[in-house]
């Protein structure tokens, strides 16, 4: 069997994505604490991301596997100037699968070419983070009971937000309707609009969204980083427009859920946390199941 990796969400066909979501559901319902007995997974974090690393390590541990790796490149051979290729070739000998995060874009794709074991991309700079997309889709399916015909609001930084770009691509086969809510400076790039047009997906762009919330099945909030604005006055003026507050949710559908890839800064007010519509913490929990599914699928333990 060829050595299959997951670097970008487009590495999986729609059927494979659906299969991963099924497997994730299976792991949530029936833990399989021994399926990774005797297996070693390496988590190579060339830049720190504690939450993502813990989620992967939790996934491996829940299946009886062992974890090796590093969470800080400063204490590893990387700081001695070893090439990525050498690190990956060597670590390939020590483990059955590599999970890696790296600040440079394309690093995971390159690692998958030189590795002799499957590689899971846990983020390569601003480029890809496919397991985030899978856990987002799992959360949508779980809360809405379906993936088809979902009305999804994406709010915040739509220009640089890689989670937004991957999610809209992966959801496009399921006839979604998108509402893109952002400051004009952080609008969705044209290449993604062209993509949606080519797939016949409906989308609308808005600069504010409080009146539109009753239409939403999912509100996907993202962080707006101050660094994106050269004019800080503009940032200060606009940041409140893209903040979700509990009072805005009165007329929302009872089944509507709020997602966020986390960490949040202030774009979801703390008063939303008590709302049954707040789903971002469970969403993080779903990440463990989605990662269990990806790991066992790539290792050929699940088909």
């Amino acid at each position: 069997m060829e050595n299959k990796s997951l670097i970008s969400i487009t590495d999986f066909t729609t059927d494979e994505i659906l299969r991963i979501l099924e497997l994730a559901e299976g792991f949530e319902k029936t833990p399989e604490p021994h399926i990774l007995d005797g297996k070693v997974v390496a988590t190579l974090f060339f830049e720190p991301s504690t939450r993502t690393r813990l989620s992967f390590e939790s996934a491996v541990n829940r299946m009886g596997g062992r974890v090796i790796g590093f969470s800080d490149p400063n204490i590893s051979s990387v700081s001695k100037g070893e090439t990525l290729k050498d690190t990956i070739r060597i670590v390939s000998n020590y483990c059955d699968l590599i999970v890696m995060r790296h600040p440079l874009e394309g690093s995971s794709r390159y690692a998958s070419e030189v590795a002799t074991v499957p590689v899971v991309n846990a983020g390569d700079g601003a480029n890809q983070h496919p397991t985030q997309t899978l856990l987002d889709m799992y959360s949508i399916k779980k809360t809405q009971g379906r993936l088809d015909n979902i009305d999804i609001f994406m709010v915040g930084d739509l220009k640089y937000g890689r989670t937004v770009h991957s999610l809209l691509q992966a959801m496009s086969p399921f006839s979604p309707t998108f509402h893109f809510v952002s400051h004009p400076k952080l609008r969705l790039p044209d290449e993604y609009k062209t993509f949606l047009d080519s797939k016949g997906v409906k989308y609308y762009e808005h600069e504010q969204f409080s009146d539109l919330i009753p239409e939403a099945d999912i509100i996907y909030m993202t962080r707006v980083q101050r660094e994106r604005f050269s004019d800080l006055m503009e940032y200060e003026k606009t940041k409140d427009v893209y903040v979700l507050r509990n009072s805005m949710l009165e007329k929302a559908k009872p089944t509507m859920k709020i997602l966020h890839p986390l960490p949040r800064i202030n774009e979801i007010n703390q008063d939303v946390d008590q709302s049954p519509k707040a789903y971002y913490f469970e969403q993080a929990r779903n990440g463990v199941f989605a990662r269990q599914a990806v790991i066992t699928y790539l290792l050929g333990l699940k088909r």
């Binding site: 090439t83 990525l84 290729k85 790296h102 600040p103 440079l104 874009e105 394309g106 690093s107 794709r109 390159y110 390569d124 700079g125 601003a126 480029n127």
Partner: protein, 155 residues
């Protein structure tokens, strides 16, 4: 006019590459590795051209290029013409063809791309330009970013 020009410094056998934009002549020489070969190479530049004002031409004696190699120059000289010469006659004349993918040769313009920090070969999908400018751009296989024509840098 063109015929006449070819006859000046005519070569017996080899390859003549014509219609190279004058400013890109040295890039073409580097892509084809003509700065490192032993056989005679002559080139002319800043010659008048109806198509681009100033053009360059390269004549390489006793060398016939593989399609794969020669088509690489389409990246920067998409209008270039190849003349295969045998026994002083033009045996074949054809335009260069843009390859679908390209390995090596160019740098990715994204400073945060892995190809700019590892000793590795770059890989790109070639995106052809519009009919007017013919400007080719390159999509990096690794980081996915597009390097536009003006930023194509030969390694």
């Amino acid at each position: 006019m063109e015929k006449k020009e070819l006859k000046v410094n005519a070569i017996k056998d080899g390859t003549v590459i014509d219609h190279i934009p004058a400013k890109d002549l040295f890039k073409v020489i580097r892509i084809l590795g003509l700065d490192r070969i032993e056989t005679p190479v002559t080139f002319g530049t800043n010659l008048d051209s109806k198509k681009f004002g100033k053009k360059g031409i390269i004549k390489v004696a006793d060398r016939f290029f593989k399609d794969n190699d020669i088509n690489k120059i389409a990246l920067i000289a998409p209008m270039a013409n190849l003349n295969i010469i045998r026994n002083y006659e033009v045996e074949e004349k054809r335009p260069v063809e843009l390859p679908a993918t390209i390995k090596g040769i160019c740098k990715c313009m994204n400073p945060k791309c892995i190809t700019n920090s590892e000793p590795m070969t770059t890989k790109f999908d070639v995106i052809s330009g519009d009919a007017v400018s013919h400007n080719v751009s390159l999509k990096c296989f690794y980081c996915g970013k597009v390097t536009d024509h003006d930023h194509i840098e030969i390694i």
